[in-house]
Symmetry: C2
Subunit: 299 residues, 2 copies
């Protein structure tokens, strides 16, 4: 069991210890962006992800319902992308308050449908329930990935170069968290053309997420916070700690870094790619000080 | 689009119309107990199910946490069973109130772990979030089923004999709804030895669920309510309408009915199997009068 850095990670680690050891079909389980399991028959791996958005936490009443639906499914798309895969099927479980099952839920499904068309997956089922409290929309998604293209958090090595896509911070204030485009095409391009050693999507902020990738890889890290790509108006602290960026954080061998930077600029001229630092031996943790990313269970 | 019988079904039908048409890999989608999709490569079908339990609706604060965990996952196991399949992987998304992430969540996971050991699936991932309101536990489960053993709701024909396992009614008062054993072994035995034409699990009560099976099959039905197998103390109305029985309702050709009854009695002497009526031509709907099963969106 890896060291838990924040309280949420500690809860996850405690719960994981209560479960039976996974069977031989489970290639990646708790602690990666998605689970990966061998499917029936030979072929690709099946990716599995579940994720929920809670009213008052991940969205508020005044947000457009279609944005809420988009966000709910695109969070899972982002995780499938971070593992190198392609989304295939989604299930949507909605616990809604009285009155939300009409126009609000239809709006929510319009956002879900738009994402399904954009990213090429089917919505194959769902569940509806009433709640007396805040609405909770839970999305479960399957995807698949070629066995040799599955990217986990754990493959990084000391010396690997760290990159992030896009810009960080200010996701909530700018509305990015509701309308972000998951980096699916970009991730598929990355795993097709480069050997990506470790990857994850940034959901709780670089300050919380980079240490998770480093712990999973058994490494440390060093970054230069002043060089982080920031959204207009976002401070360095915001870029480190705001969360909900849904950008890709990944590590490649030093020998691939320059070629990747150049190829990216040609292929994705509209999306920034920034070299933010590198993985180090496990003793080194440099660049993330007292700033912490979002911890769902912090008091 | 099939006729929606109650308000929940109407909401589901409306939302389904907002979604893009499913791709060619989707064998069963919205409206069956599980979705069934072709996996990567050849082989069995992949079954997908999501289901949520909401505090104050499906469980209450004083219920044992391990029972809540058991119920949350066993509802999905029951749906996989109703499609003839075997559960493989589960994802658990928990939105919990402040204070519930300690002993309560551990207890919940103990119940989940017990079910995983009992029914042979892996818990491969999950998600934790805070909510200000009632807790919501959403379980997503994958399973697989041999292509020729997938049972849907839609395969019934007029004249088919209807059976239910176990006894109905009084699930809430007796605590059955928290501790029921999904009829997984029994369903696997049924699809291995008999041609089951249509099957579902009873979650909203026979009065709500049988019409769904009939509508999906394009048939009517006739049952004799006085002959329904009832839990000790349960009235006929309770057996029809209480819900959360998690028993199997299925249809077989008349020529198979007697052989099935006899074989069941030998193989499963401790579990009742009752012939409750039959499917009819679509004009006939007999035996379920003004009693309605549980409708999550009834006012």
């Amino acid at each position: 069991m890896k060291v838990a850095r924040n309280r949420e990670d500690a809860v996850v680690a405690r719960l994981a210890r209560l479960l039976p050891a996974p069977g031989g079909d489970v290639v990646a389980g708790i602690g990666d962006d998605c689970a990966a399991v061998k499917g029936p028959g030979r072929g690709n791996l099946i990716l599995l992800k579940t994720d929920c958005v809670v009213e008052g936490r991940h969205f508020v009443v005044k947000d457009r319902a279609s944005d809420v639906g988009w966000k709910a499914v695109c969070r899972a798309v982002s995780d499938i992308a971070a593992c190198g895969g392609q989304p295939r099927s989604a299930l949507v479980a909605c616990a809604v308050r009285a009155g939300q099952e009409g126009a609000w839920l239809s709006g929510c499904y319009r956002g879900i449908a738009k994402a399904a068309r954009t990213f090429g997956f089917d919505v194959v089922g769902g569940e509806l329930a009433r709640t007396e409290g805040p609405a909770v929309i839970t999305v479960s998604m399957t995807g698949d990935v070629e066995k040799n293209r599955l990217v986990r958090r754990s493959g990084g090595r000391p010396g690997d170069v760290l990159f992030v896509t896009g810009v960080l911070g200010g996701s909530l204030a700018s509305g990015w968290h509701l309308r972000f485009p998951p980096r699916l095409e970009q991730a598929r391009w990355l795993v097709k053309h480069f050997r990506v050693r470790a990857m994850m999507d940034l959901s709780d902020g670089l300050a919380a997420d980079l240490p998770r990738l480093a712990v999973a890889s058994g490494t440390g890290y060093s970054i230069e916070p002043g060089l982080l790509p920031r959204r207009r108006g976002a401070t360095v602290a915001a870029a480190l700690g705001d969360g909900e960026d849904f950008e890709l954080l990944f590590a490649v061998a030093p020998r691939d870094a320059a070629r990747l930077s150049a190829a990216w600029k040609r292929r994705w001229p509209g999306i920034r790619l920034t070299r933010i630092g590198r993985l180090e031996s496990s003793a080194t943790r440099a660049g993330i000080g007292p700033v912490h990313g979002f911890d769902h269970f912090a008091d």
